[in-house]
């Protein structure tokens, strides 16, 4: 076993991702030259991924307070919200973009595993998963390979782990050709008072590592995630971790069981930067330190050196601080579940992390300077208005001709991979295990998840149309928040809080940073309006494609994961037509607006056009009214207008039960804008004949702008008297197109 360490100099520091200034700062903190192991510890802890050094200044401007929040944003592994009845909901979204771009199956699988661990390390049982995926052009064989790998990775991990995937979104755009986005969200439930903190209180308390053995996988994964993805990135394959959902399932059950013994002081999962991150964050949180004997860590290989053990990102591991004298309780539970449980150290009062290997001290660093909010660097980056904004501003809607053949256009648009059903994907996910998925037989705009042991249901959704954010980062991000809230409101829920996954390009690019700053501003404003504080999330920079003539960032993609609540599951509203003979109304203003629509992109090949119309006050007012109408029991179906416009909204309402519709367009608005435009703040509702008068009275009394579109009919579709054929034929296209595109 080599105990001598490589020499340290600026060159070595740079190879580990540190800059000269940071290297100097480490010298000052240490009061001496760090050894290689110590330098490695700083490099991962100060990586973008762990330190948020280029984003934290702006993240702090987001609203992070609310009466329902049980922990402050960033304080614990995930946000925790009071949902009443003595229950809390822990939820968080996280990216696993770079690993998935290199090794889609394991990258996506470990992304799912990591986010679930963040939830159950707090003592919450995960009950639902969502994912938000962005792929490149589906015509590219490389894209199809990535889709297959990511989907089976998510499926194999989540299915075995036994948590249903209840919702999500998938978009295809060539900006993601090289750098796909894989954002995974987990939602868990915990009884009040049974939560566990990621703290290391009580000097003298023993420290345990539990779960899988530590291997050489994922070393420097956090640093890898904090650099540009290049053509050579495939050489970094050892930086991608390998997942084992069976071990994770055992770890889940054992972790939740061990909490009930009362022997646990604190617990933190090991994700990025492994033992380094968990020991430093837990110690820094409690103002304590730790002495850790790395030779006691169970390893998969015999030839691992100390820094490899420290930095390994092997999955399915936890660090637990136990009450001194109650060690046996831990050992018994983990023995029952046939998992490793090894005492590797002790909590100290020194504030330092001291790592030993075979009796020799190999690293000795202070905990506080390593962590976010402690001594980790914080940078303010420059930003400038992107040059491409001029092209967007120059777009002239009058230059777009309304197609003569509406039916043919509708068919073409409807077959877009961004519009059609994602059935080929989601059928590979177990969406029903735990028997809480209310959407299986009755879909809503958000996924509704019953909370057993109460009358409540959660409404959860992920949303972000990155084309809107690209066109206008500020408004586009407000729309992402608004659409998430709208989906929850249209499902009968109350928006409660969000988690975010901020996927952007290189922060050192001032135009990218402009997108980031304005996205945060828009998110903050919208979250304040909807009273949905930000409970946590993650930032993923350096998402870009590298070409011969330079780099091209992905569309800015600030994915919003929103949690909503139904006090009683009876308040649930669904999105589909139930029977013929109901009237269909559009609530909200129709506008002559084609901006950033799928229609403009697919039918007319326009990639750069303004963000669709959006006004935060108008949106908020509409949502308030929709909520009242649902509570008053005045409508039978409710579905918001989003990608593909009103036409797609109507079709999506028609397909579940095969109910048709006959509607008329508004002659004062160009037909393509009326049917396919994506101007915001519009909701379609269907009403039973016996309730129509009450609904109309309500709409009039509340001064809600509305248009009667037509009515539901048996099986067929007609627009302005033109026969659009049978719903079941549209459904066939809807259900099968994506699979055919992927399997071609």
């Amino acid at each position: 076993m080599p105990t001598t360490q490589p020499a340290v100099n600026l060159e070595v520091a740079k190879n580990l991702g540190l800059n000269a200034e940071e290297f100097e700062k480490i010298h000052k903190i240490m009061g001496r030259e760090p050894n290689f192991t110590e330098l490695s510890i700083f490099s991962v802890m100060w990586s973008e991924h762990c330190s948020y050094k280029n984003s934290i200044t702006w993240l702090k401007t987001l609203p992070r307070d609310g009466s329902r929040l049980l922990v402050e944003a960033g304080e614990e592994n995930a946000g925790l919200v009071d949902i009443g009845d003595g229950l809390g909901c822990a939820f968080k979204i996280e990216s696993h973009n770079h690993p998935s771009a290199i090794e889609p199956y394991q990258g996506a699988a470990t992304g799912v595993g990591g986010i679930h661990r963040d939830i159950f390390t707090m003592g919450a049982r995960p009950i639902a998963a969502l994912n938000s995926l962005r792929f490149g052009d589906i015509k590219e064989p490389h894209t199809r390979r990535l889709v297959k790998g990511v989907v089976s990775g998510i499926g194999d991990y989540g299915n075995c782990f036994g948590v249903p995937t209840v919702g999500g979104e998938v978009y295809f755009n060539s900006c993601y050709n090289q750098n796909i986005l894989v954002n995974a969200m987990s939602v868990g439930i915990v009884k009040a008072g049974e939560t566990v903190s990621a703290s290391a209180d009580g000097p003298g308390n023993p420290v345990f590592i539990v779960g899988s053995a530590t291997g050489k996988d994922g070393i420097h994964g956090a640093t890898f995630a904090s650099a540009d993805l290049t053509e050579d990135s495939a050489d970094d394959l050892p930086a991608v971790q390998v997942g084992d959902p069976f071990q994770e399932k055992l770890l889940l059950e054992a972790s939740l069981e061990v909490i009930t013994t009362g022997a646990v002081v604190g617990m933190q999962d090991m994700g990025a930067a492994g033992i380094t991150c968990s020991t430093s964050e837990m110690s820094a949180k409690s103002g304590t330190g730790m002495q850790i004997d790395l030779s006691k860590v169970p390893t998969r290989q015999s030839n691992m050196v100390p820094f490899e053990i420290l930095l390994s990102e092997s999955q399915e591991r936890m660090l637990i601080v136990a009450k001194k004298g109650e060690e046996q309780k831990l050992l018994d539970v983990f023995d029952k579940w046939d998992l490793e449980c090894e005492e590797i150290g002790v909590v100290t009062d020194t504030g330092r992390l001291e790592f030993f290997y075979e009796g020799k001290k190999v690293a000795d660093v202070p905990a506080e300077p390593l962590v976010l909010g402690g001594g980790a660097p914080v940078y303010e980056r420059e930003y400038t208005r992107p040059a491409y904004f001029d092209k967007i501003a120059a777009f002239d809607q009058e230059s777009i001709t309304t197609p003569d053949d509406t039916l043919a256009t509708a068919k073409q648009l409807f077959a877009s991979p961004n519009i059609v059903s994602k059935r080929w994907i989601y059928e590979q996910y177990d969406s029903m295990v735990r028997t809480n998925s209310m959407g299986t037989n009755a879909p809503s705009d958000a996924a509704l998840v019953r909370v057993k042991g109460s009358t409540k249901a959660l409404a959860v959704t992920t949303d972000c149309n990155s084309a809107y954010v690209y066109a206008d980062p500020y408004k586009g991000t407000m729309i992402a928040v608004a659409e998430a809230a709208r989906n929850i409101v249209c499902s009968g829920g109350l928006p409660v809080a969000i988690t975010n996954c901020l996927n952007f390009g290189n922060p050192y690019n001032p135009e990218v940073y402009f997108q980031f700053v304005n996205a945060i501003k828009g998110m903050g404003e919208a979250c304040r309006k909807f009273d949905t504080p930000v409970t946590g999330g993650n930032v993923s920079f350096y998402n870009q494609s590298v070409h011969k003539n330079g780099t091209e960032p992905v569309y800015p993609t600030p994915t919003i994961g929103m949690l909503g609540l139904l006090d009683h599951y009876d308040q649930a509203m669904t999105l589909y037509f139930k029977e013929a003979g109901q009237s269909i109304y559009l609530l909200g203003q129709s506008r002559e607006d084609l901006g950033s629509s799928e229609y403009l992109r697919l039918i007319h090949g326009v990639e750069q056009s303004p963000v669709p119309h959006f006004d935060l006050e108008e949106e908020y007012a509409l949502q308030q009214e929709v909520s009242k109408i649902i509570k008053a029991g005045l409508i039978d179906a409710c579905h918001d207008v989003s990608e593909g416009g009103l036409f797609v909204t109507l079709m999506e309402a028609a397909m579940p039960k095969g109910i048709g519709f006959e509607v008329n367009t508004d002659a004062s608005i160009r037909k393509d804008a009326f049917l396919f435009g994506e101007s915001q703040s519009r909701v379609m509702v269907a009403v039973k004949p016996e309730q129509e008068e009450a609904l109309l009275n309500h709409l009039k009394a509340q001064n809600i702008i509305n248009t009667k579109l037509g009515q539901t009919v048996a099986g067929n579709v007609a627009i302005d008297g033109q026969d659009f054929g049978a719903v079941r034929e549209w459904k066939s296209t809807y259900d099968h197109t994506l699979g055919e595109l992927i399997e071609q």
Binding site: S152, G155, D156, N159, C160, F161, G162, D244, P245, F246, Q247, K249, L250, K336, W337, D338, E427, Q428, Y429, D430, S431, M432, V433, R434, T435, N436, S437, M438, T440, N441, A442, R450, K452, Y569
Partner: protein, 235 residues
């Protein structure tokens, strides 16, 4: 009739089954840890459930390791003594691996995990879980598996059919059994079977996922009520 639900490492439908049996059906139910060597107070009047999930992570083959769990000796004794055993999804796979049911569950012909609603047509009323079903109804019950393609040699299949040991066929909404309604390539659309003595049942679909109004589907509940009703008569 009381129920015992075996929890193997990696079982993940155990809680769902206990919820339906305990909270929905109102039966007496408890968990049985796979390391236990006896079924405790459960007798041959009672039913042992092997739930869905990924016992031992489906390592080697689905169910191949779980059959060696200590409790399986007691489960096999229980079955041989005439007690009811019902395996669902991974439980079905374990029963085949353990030799309590004939045949084997192979990878789906799609080579993909598939989770969706399917329709089942009862194939016989000569089993406790199908006795009280409407033999002409198509029951909507979801599947969620990667290895659900039932396979056995021709003679075994013929015998299963002749003995009315086939419990369900995959069909369409109107009850038609066709190649198009076969979700995984299973022989003759077989979705579930029982043993010769008709006390051991195995099926890939998940009736416990279709047993509550709140979830918009109670077709699966009928299997549980059939079991309870037909065994009451027997007693």
């Amino acid at each position: 009739m009381k129920f015992g639900v075996v929890v193997f490492p990696g079982s993940n439908c155990d809680d769902d089954m206990i919820h339906v049996l305990g909270d929905v059906v109102g039966a007496s139910v408890r968990k049985l840890w796979h390391k236990e060597e006896s079924l405790g107070d459960l007798t041959t009047d009672d039913c042992i459930i092997l739930p869905g999930g990924f016992s031992y992570g489906d390592y080697m083959r689905a169910g191949a390791i779980a059959r060696f769990s200590p409790i399986m000796t007691a489960v096999i004794e229980h079955a041989n003594a005439g007690g009811y055993v019902w395996g669902i999804c991974n439980g079905f796979q374990i029963l085949c691996e353990a030799g309590l049911l004939p045949g084997v569950l192979l990878h789906n012909d799609t080579q993909r995990f598939t989770c969706k609603n399917v329709y089942l047509k009862p194939a016989t009323d000569k089993s406790a879980i199908t006795a009280k079903l409407d033999q002409n109804k198509a029951y909507k019950i979801p599947i969620a598996h990667a290895e659900g393609r039932f396979h056995a040699d021709e003679a075994t299949i013929n015998q299963l059919v002749a003995n009315q040991q086939v419990l369900f066929y995959y069909c369409d909404e109107s009850g038609q059994v066709t190649a198009d309604t076969n979700p995984n390539g299973t022989l003759r659309n077989i979705a579930g079977i029982c043993n010769e003595k008709r006390n051991v049942f195995g099926m890939m679909p998940h009736p416990e996922r279709a047993a509550e109004d709140l979830l918009g589907n109670t077709d699966g509940l009928d299997l549980f009520t059939s079991l309870l009703a037909s065994t009451e008569v027997a007693v």
